[in-house]
């Protein structure tokens, strides 16, 4: 509907420092590189993901914050018996942290610039992800309580 004939009229800033923060239930950490993550994208089919079930650490890369596939992938992966560290990576919103945790992720890796932009308080609000949870109440959840 609202197509403009002007080229390059968007003002999004695409350059960004690569430095990232890890968000967990205990707050913010900088990357410690203690474990090597196996990287997959949200395009991966569940069968291919399940082959990684005995790995120590897997990182699922979200294309963007509207890419909801990662949540279902995490749930299925935990269902397959994956016991290692499951990390999400991508420009997600603070409001999605609880969805990550409830789906079976342990933590989120995200550019520190994005963390700052949303304000740290917004991120910390998500740490209370286990309360007010309908699905847990209905038994349709595999979530490990902290």
């Amino acid at each position: 509907m609202r197509e403009n004939n002007c080229a390059n009229s968007t003002t999004k800033n695409k350059t960004r420092r690569e430095s990232c923060l890890i968000i967990t239930d205990s707050g913010f950490e900088t990357e410690d590189y203690r474990v090597d993550f196996i990287d997959v994208t949200t395009d991966i089919v569940p069968q291919a993901l399940s082959k990684l079930r005995d790995s120590r650490a897997v990182r699922i890369n979200f294309a963007n914050f509207k890419d909801g596939r990662g949540f279902t992938l995490a749930r299925l992966f935990r269902l397959e018996g994956f016991k290692g560290v499951l990390r999400a990576k991508g420009d997600l919103l603070p409001d999605q942290y609880s969805m990550l945790r409830r789906s079976g992720f342990d933590e989120l890796e995200i550019a520190d610039m994005v963390v700052e932009r949303h304000s740290k308080a917004a991120w910390l609000a998500g740490i209370n992800w286990h309360s007010h949870h309908y699905q847990k109440r209905l038994g349709s959840s595999l979530i490990r309580e902290p």
């Binding site: 403009n4 002007c6 009229s9 968007t10 003002t11 932009r117």
Partner: protein
Amino acid sequence: MKSDEFGPVVVSANDLLTGNVIFLTEKPDWTTNIHEAYVINDKAESCRWLLEGEVQQSLFSDNLFSHVVDPYLVELKIDKEVISFCAFKEALRYYGPSNYFHGKRDWEIV
């Protein structure tokens, strides 16, 4: 838009707080009155002003300019200083719904 002629156009958007239809003025500021809008007759200039609107949308501050959503160009017809909209849809957007008289604008159902 035909390629050889351009405009007149104005930059329009919605106000973040009220949702109101707003237009970019020459200042630049935003107004709800089409008669105060800055009318553009040149393509390059329209791109510059649209960019201005978009920059204002993405500003992160408490100033009023950041309270702008989804700016785009609206085509007008201007005949002896009487302004009308090329598309019926834009006229309705400006004057308000036709099923009730909400008193927002002077609008008679066509």
